[in-house]
Structures are given as structure tokens and as C-alpha cells.
Symmetry: C2
Subunit: 234 residues, 2 copies
């Protein structure tokens, strides 16, 4: 559509892309969403989903959301900027500056292989990630570090868990992030005393043991406490 044309500048220009590190949680493990590249540099290799920004037409965050939705069909997720990577040789073709984003999604909200179309997007457990295209290994490493750090002092874990969850699952997630074990009783006491979880008076079903109570993150309670100078920490 439209006549082919070209764009001329007085100086060399870099290309700008966005790449997204999408984390999902699956009962026991963190997963990242990877695509398989269908085009030339690094064709066939795994990479982070992303693409070029539409110059003059969208903000960086809009570009990240657009790419994510196009390539993976996911919606409703936490998204924040992670950092920008711009070494001149990070793309073998020419100078590409990429703005990396960091997304947290509820895997349970999206049908197992949500792929609307195009290149295959698939969840990959964090400790089985293959070598990635470009400098995406480095980007992923930064994202991991940021996620683990941030889970402790921002209530981001609730963006990964299903809306209703038992405390056990919350604890597992935090143990994964901190790399250590946590005492069950202390964990429960601490979390419940924060007053940001709503007890749903429901229990799990279909489990082969005593069913656990389900809770929901109470965002407005969280915001109220935050306004009063309190801050989340686990």
C-alpha cells in the first residue's frame, strides 16, 4: 500500500527497536516468552519478541505493547521499561538501538500457546533458555536481576500469579526469586499482617490434600497504605 519511497537524512541514523522480556509463572517455575526468528540475522534462533518502532507515530511503550500483542496475542499485563542497549555492533547489519521492556503476565489468562499467527511464540522455563539472538542473553540477564530485585519491594508477584491464589504459591514465587527457603509461618504472618490480601473464603478444589484458602491481592488497600508512607517488603 502506498508508493514505495525512501527517506533521506543529513546524518547517519540508527534504527530503534523495542524488545520485551515477558515473564510468566507456572506453579513452580518462572518462564520467559521466546519467539523463533523467521528472518535473516539469526534466522531460526530463539529471540525476545520485539520489532521496529513506528517513527513519528507511537511512543516507546506503545510500540512495546503493539509488538507484544501482534506477536503473542497477550493483553492486560504489567509493563515497564528495563533499559536501552545500543552498542554499535549488537546487530550485524547496522546500528540498532533497542529499548528493552519487561512484562509480567498471568500465564493462566492466556491459552497455552496463545500465538495468534506469524512466528511461533513459546514459553520457556528460565533455566532452560537456549542461546539467544543478538545481545538478548544480556538483556534477559538484566531482566532477571531486575525481576528478582523488584519482587522484594514492589508487589509485582501478584501480576504473575492467578487472581485467586493460595499463600503457598505466593511463597513459592518468593522463594524462587530470593533463591532461598523461607519459613512458612513467618511468611504467612508477615504477608497477612500487611493487610493487602483479601481472604476470599474459598478453597482450592481438585487437590489431593487439604484444600488451601484462596486470597486475592487488594490493590486499593495497597495504595492506601503506600500513601501513608508504608512500603511493601518481603
Amino acid at each position: 500500500m502506498g508508493t514505495p519511497r525512501t527517506y533521506t537524512y543529513d546524518y547517519p541514523m540508527p534504527a530503534v527497536t523495542v524488545d520485551c522480556v515477558v515473564f510468566g509463572w507456572d506453579d513452580n517455575d518462572l518462564h520467559v516468552l521466546l519467539i523463533e526468528r523467521g528472518e535473516k540475522p539469526y534466522e531460526g534462533q530463539a529471540a525476545l519478541p520485539g520489532g521496529f518502532i513506528q517513527v513519528g507515530r507511537e511512543s516507546l511503550e506503545q510500540a512495546a505493547r503493539r509488538e507484544l500483542e501482534e506477536e503473542t496475542g497477550i493483553r492486560n499485563y504489567h509493563l515497564e521499561q528495563l533499559g536501552t542497549f545500543g552498542n554499535p555492533d549488537r546487530d550485524p547489519r547496522y546500528h540498532v538501538v533497542t529499548v528493552a521492556y519487561f512484562a509480567l503476565v498471568r500465564k493462566s489468562d492466556h491459552r497455552p500457546r496463545g500465538g495468534t499467527d506469524a512466528r511461533s511464540a513459546a514459553w520457556c522455563p528460565l533455566d532452560e533458555v537456549p542461546s539467544l539472538a543478538f545481545d538478548h542473553d544480556e538483556i534477559l540477564a538484566v531482566a532477571k536481576k531486575r525481576l528478582y530485585g523488584k519482587l522484594r519491594y514492589k508487589p509485582l508477584g501478584f501480576q504473575l500469579l492467578p487472581r485467586k491464589f493460595p499463600l503457598r504459591d505466593l511463597q513459592r514465587l518468593y522463594e524462587t526469586a530470593s533463591g532461598g527457603e523461607v519459613d512458612k509461618r513467618n511468611f504467612r504472618k508477615k504477608v497477612l499482617e500487611m493487610g493487602i490480601l483479601e481472604d476470599l473464603n474459598e478453597t482450592e478444589s481438585d487437590v489431593a490434600h487439604r484444600a488451601a484458602r484462596l486470597y486475592r491481592f487488594n490493590e486499593s488497600a495497597y495504595r492506601k497504605r503506600s500513601r501513608d508512607g508504608w512500603h511493601f517488603e518481603l
Copy 2:
């Protein structure tokens, strides 16, 4: 030098710049380094120092350091990436994506108006900053928030203070960042027990009151403790 030429692409390209928020500390107040714009959009208005990256030739951090050194002559400072701003209309001319950096310098290391040349760079107290060009107000706001947050859990304050400093000054800096007052005795005890300050057995001179002892940040002690899983917090 070199023949004038142009650069042609199949797609529209954004420009990429770096901008630096440079903080300095002056006994009692935080200052930011601002330049006065000498060129068209926002000519004559205050702005953050920065400029275009050299496409294909330097990384983003190299670009930030180059621009800072060119425009202000400062050297030896802490520099980290702050975030990237890329709304299509943030520059009235065309789509410019800017990668913001965040620098901490010892004002005492640099002669009062270090300007090597070119446009005038000047320190401005944080609470007297005028309205800035582009979206630099927003960038500065993000930087301030990041600085205040980070001072509490990373030993960045020592990058702002002179190498030898009395505890009083350290306390002032932290009070500024946290917006509250702190008990002198508790502060001293806490800081000294960290074991990351070296007592120089020297005192201030030329003060109209009892001279305070001077201390120095002991980076290797800090790193050793960090490796053992300890973390800085004030």
C-alpha cells in the same frame, strides 16, 4: 572535513540522543548541571546537557560520557542509565528518542564553572530549576526520584561528597534525600557500625566551631561486605 553527503533509508528513522542529569552536592543542597541552549528549538532556554550519538561508532554510555566531557569538562564520575524517552512529539522537529543518563559528581573536584568552551554550563540548585526545554522537566523529575530512592540502598552519597568528609555532611545529604530529619546519634552509630568508613584521624580546619573528624568511604571494605550477602541501607 569530508564531502557533504546524505544518508538514505527505506523507512523513516528516528534520531537518538543522550541527555545527562548531573547532580552535585554543595554543603547543604543538591544542584543539577544545566546548559543554555544555543540553537533553535528552545534557543536560550535551559536544558540538560546532551547531544546526538555517533551512529555506528560508539555505545550509548560512551556517547553520554563524550557529551558530558565536551560540554562541561567534568571527568571521573558515577554514571548510570536512567531511562529512555521517546514520545514522537517530544522534539518539535522530528522524532527523537533520547536515552537519559544520571551522573553524580564531586562539585569540589571541578572548578566552579568548569566550562571548557561552547555553551555555558552552570550549576542550579534543585529547587530553583527553571522550566526546561523539551521534556527535560520530566526527565529531571524521574532522575530526582531515582536519586532519592537509590541513595538509601546504594552507597552513592559518597560519589557526591568530597573524598574526605565529616559525618555531619553525610547526614545532611541523607536528610535532604529522605526529606526528613534523622537523629544524630543513631545515624552515627549506624553508619560507623557498617564498617565502610575509614577514620582519617584528621579534623576540619577553618571552621568557627569545634572541628569535626574526617572520614573516607572505604570501597574495598564495602565490596567485601557486599560479597558476604550484606547490603547497605540507611
